[in-house]
């Protein structure tokens, strides 16, 4: 028994497990020594956890776009990070305009609504254009062809927006209503952060309901199971693919507004890193799986926020927050190596291409 098991082990497995073991030991050792040294206070930890939740919500909303498209077309929509960027980068000009007119602080709710609508509209428009121009002609092409197209489209969009709106960091005017902190018991939380966390949660619930219970959502799931059968059942596959892109674009547009509520700036390059992390979140939760995107986003947000301080401080690494992106990408590499189906598994479809 043991002998046969030993025979199945290859060099690959040994290397993979060695890498896993080294990282695992480093993480556990780092965590224990950080906690022992007692460097950070409870409030600091709570702040980090809140930070993790707000990032997680945004990642989850972006991840939804990756997940839905992957579920249906089996392709990584690499340009989704630019779909995410385009909305808030356009809406910043509306926000500035409203701010200059004084409307921004006198009517914050309406202003925020208008900005969100513009952001959603632009993101959705870009997503639909991508689908129509770049992806639709390539539906039956070899796997790498659409991916390369998506990478090209991503760069094209980035630098188009840079050309249109300029290379500067555009800062969102701050909303007076959202300034300041709320205290809930022992927890102190920024108003903007609270809104982001709640809004992301509500949006995820809504999108889950759309995918799970509406007619369109059912059609989407059936297309992802089997395109031909779905077409035979009278589902317009093209239309469903278009609405998938629209839904993904809309959630990216909302995620974009939530993102700028926290970070206050928009830039042509703002999409790349969050996009990659959101993809990580989608894979972490199980790509093609809506609750998975939520779970993956939250876990990644928390890991990114807590990870540097928790794992690395104890290892004696200086300036830990520099490495938060490295942690996120390590999670990406590890999850793809050890469990490419994600935590909840690929749900939208079982058949793998």
């Amino acid at each position: 028994m043991l002998k046969r098991w030993l025979q199945t082990i290859t060099l690959t497995d040994v290397v993979v497990w060695a890498i896993g073991l080294i990282i695992g030991i480093a993480v556990i050792y780092g965590t224990i020594s950080t906690l022992r040294a007692d460097i950070y206070s409870t409030t600091q930890w709570i702040d980090l956890i809140i930070g993790g939740f707000k990032l997680g919500g945004i990642y989850a909303l972006i991840a939804l776009g990756y997940t839905l498209v992957y579920g249906i077309l089996r392709m990584i929509n690499f340009a989704h990070s630019e779909v995410f960027m385009s909305g808030p980068f356009t809406a910043v000009f509306l926000a500035k305009f409203l701010h200059a007119k004084g409307f921004y602080n006198s009517q914050p709710v309406i202003s925020l609504l208008l900005i969100t609508i513009l952001s959603v509209g632009v993101s959705m428009g870009i997503a639909l254009m991508l689908e129509r121009i770049a992806y639709r002609p390539l539906r039956n092409a070899p796997r790498l062809v659409p991916l390369i197209t998506a990478i090209g489209a991503s760069f094209f969009l980035q630098y188009t927006f840079r050309g249109l709106y300029g290379n500067d960091l555009e800062s969102y005017p701050t909303m007076k209503v959202l300034q300041g902190k709320l205290s809930l018991g022992i927890i102190q939380i920024q108003k903007a952060d609270l809104i982001v966390i709640i809004a992301a949660f509500i949006m995820m619930m809504l999108l889950y309901i759309v995918v799970q219970y509406t007619k369109m959502g059912k059609a989407m799931r059936s297309v992802s199971e089997d395109k031909e059968t779905a077409a035979l059942m009278g589902i317009d596959v093209d239309k469903i693919i278009v609405s998938t892109f629209a839904l993904g674009g809309a959630s990216a547009g909302i995620a974009g507004i939530l993102y700028v509520l926290i970070f206050n700036t928009a830039h042509f390059y703002m999409g790349f890193i969050p996009g990659l992390k959101a993809f990580t979140a989608a894979v972490l939760g199980g790509i093609g799986n809506v609750p998975g995107a939520w779970l993956g986003g939250m876990i990644l947000g928390l890991l990114e926020s807590l990870g540097p301080n928790l794992f690395l401080t104890g290892l004696g690494v200086p300036a830990v927050s520099q490495l938060k992106d490295a942690i996120a990408f390590t999670v990406l590499v590890l999850i793809l190596i050890f469990r490419p189906t994600g935590l909840l598994g690929e749900r939208l479809s079982k058949a793998k291409a």
Binding site: L11, V16, F155, F156, G163, L323, L332, V333, P340
Partner: protein
């Protein structure tokens, strides 16, 4: 018939709208303005003019195919209609932009841009100019379409050459060989003006190129018709290689310092592309973190030779094998776990890996070893006996040697056992495995070879710049290399060489172009995938693979015809 006509009008309208949008986009992105003073023919045509008019011309020309059955008068009507629509859209942009100041958002919508679009004429008249411009472009498209192919080709080449030489006026005058009298005074006096070509020079160049292409284009066919023995073919190929080799050796002294710098960076990227070509082109593994191996090569060279770090102080030649070894090791260590993955997951994992390497090099944590944000300076430069190879021109020969070596290895590998295994895996991994090929081993070989070449390129980069910074190793480098091999032709070595020369050489020489470089690469990647996924200089085998589906369709179409023929 009526239906057909209305379909044609619809197509013409669509073409006009799309080309109008494209022209507006090009204007708003800022290309018209920033190339507005890069004259091709002095004070007459600038690169900006060409850039916003060419898409209109090309799209209208492309649309003619859909109504080539119509009479020429109707064709002219459709095309000028498309052109007028495009001109009208530009007019809308100008009117809108002049009435409202939208520069807060669209930074390039400036009065200067509008003046350039209207050829310097103020508004009421300018609107007329814009529409006239579009209409004339439509007419020009028909004119070109109705020409004999041989003439058309010659004229197109003439335009391309005039644009190219006119744009590169400053750079050409910098070249060493131009400094020789009488050539210098002739060029400065008659051919080149303050900016771009003189009118006389432009017309002369155009006529020369047109004549050359017209007569040579005719002769080529005759040569091709002659049956050549393999012996003769090999001989002619050898002479061609010989001439190309001598030309390459003479380049730095002939072209001078400015071009040597460009040639060096072109060379380094070609070296990397040849490596990635093995991974992506031969084995079909999309590696987006390729820059990581480049970084490992450069950083190993830096750490082992720089006295600043003070660890080893080796010489270039001592450190080179270590750098190569480290790159290969990194390739194997990364390769082992990730090679079980499917194509697109592999791409993302390698991307993550490349970013991790950059972030680690950037961090304060590894600063004592890798220098952090400040990077590492004072890297040793190679020395052969008493001769130090330290100028850009000398490094060029080193890079050239590297490319020659790597290209030779690539060509030999392609037809070797492992090369054929790569091809088999690329086409169908499961079948390849069933045929007794070990996919993990073969893929690992591809990864390691690719990493080796990137490591070599990185070491040479270190020696060229004598310093490394983490900012030189961003994701965009990987995309750059990927663009070279995809546009050149995946798996095709001449494709990679030409692709590298064009994609790195043009922006290197034309520095104003730098800002739009990624825009062009992105657009080129999408266009290539949509229209010619095998690349511009494809490898035959790859071309067959990518067009397999089309051939099947073709066969299906043919079968009933054959049967009915029986």
């Amino acid at each position: 018939m009526n239906n057909l006509a209305s379909a044609a009008w619809k197509k013409a309208l669509n073409t006009g709208l799309v080309s109008g949008i494209l022209a507006i986009m090009i204007s708003l992105i800022g290309m018209v303005e920033s190339f507005g003073d890069t004259f091709i023919i002095n004070r007459f045509v600038s690169l900006g003019d060409i850039l916003h008019m060419a898409p209109i011309l090309i799209l209208i020309y492309g649309a003619i195919k859909t109504y080539d059955q119509a009479t020429w008068k109707l064709q002219l009507a459709y095309s000028t209609f498309s052109g007028a629509i495009a001109g009208l859209m530009l007019t809308v942009l100008v009117l809108f932009g002049s009435a409202l100041d939208i520069r807060e958002m669209l930074v390039n919508a400036s009065p200067t841009l509008f003046r350039l679009l209207m050829f310097g004429i103020e508004l009421p008249g300018g609107a007329f100019i814009l529409i006239l411009k579009g209409t004339l472009l439509g007419a020009l498209a028909i004119g070109l379409f109705r020409l004999q192919p041989r003439w058309r080709n010659a004229i197109m080449q003439g335009i391309i050459w005039v644009v190219l030489i006119g744009t590169l006026r400053d750079q050409i005058l910098l070249a060493s060989f131009v400094q020789i009298e009488p050539l210098n005074s002739i060029l400065r006096g008659f051919v080149f003006a303050q900016s771009g070509l003189t009118q006389f020079g432009g017309i002369l160049l155009f006529l020369i190129v047109v004549a050359a292409y017209y007569f040579l284009g005719g002769r080529k066919k005759v040569v091709a018709n002659n049956k050549q023995t393999p012996e003769k073919l090999r001989k002619s190929r050898l002479t061609r290689f010989g001439i190309a080799g001598i030309a390459l050796l003479l380049l730095p002294p002939v072209l001078g310092l400015f071009f040597s710098e460009v040639l060096d960076s072109v060379g380094l990227f070609i070296l990397m592309s040849l490596g990635l070509n093995i991974v992506v082109g031969f084995a079909g593994l999309l590696d987006l973190g390729y820059v990581g191996f480049y970084a490992i090569g450069a950083y190993t060279m830096a750490v082992f030779t720089s006295p600043e770090m003070g660890f080893f102080n080796l010489s270039f030649w001592q450190a080179l094998p270590i750098a190569l070894l480290f790159s290969v090791l990194a390739g194997v260590i990364l390769g082992l776990p990730v090679l079980r993955m499917r194509g697109d997951y592999l791409a993302i994992v390698t991307l993550g890996f490349g970013e991790i390497i950059r972030l680690l090099a950037l961090s304060d944590w590894l600063k004592p070893w890798l220098g952090g944000t400040q990077g590492i300076q004072r890297i040793a430069q190679p020395q052969i006996g008493p001769i130090a190879i330290d100028t850009l021109q000398e490094i060029y020969y080193l890079i050239l040697l590297g490319i020659g070596l790597v290209a030779f290895v690539s060509i030999r590998l392609k037809d070797s056992k492992v090369g054929r295994a790569w091809m088999a895996i690329r086409e169908d991994e499961d079948v390849a495995a069933a045929m007794g090929i070990n996919p993990v081993f073969s893929k690992l070989m591809a990864f390691a070879t690719g990493a080796l070449f990137a490591g070599l390129s990185g070491s040479l980069l270190g020696a060229k710049l004598t310093s490394v910074y983490p900012h030189s190793f961003t994701f965009i480098v990987s995309i750059n290399v990927l663009s070279i091999i995809i546009i050149g032709g995946m798996g095709s070595i001449p494709g990679v060489l030409i692709g590298g020369l064009v994609l790195m050489g043009l922006p290197g020489v034309l520095t104003e172009f730098e800002e739009y470089r990624w825009l062009f690469y992105g657009a080129a990647l999408v266009m290539m995938m949509l229209t010619r996924p095998e690349g511009l200089w494809p490898e035959t085998r790859r071309k067959l693979e990518l067009h397999e589906a089309e051939e099947e369709v073709l066969e299906e179409d043919l079968t009933p015809a054959i049967q009915s023929g029986d």
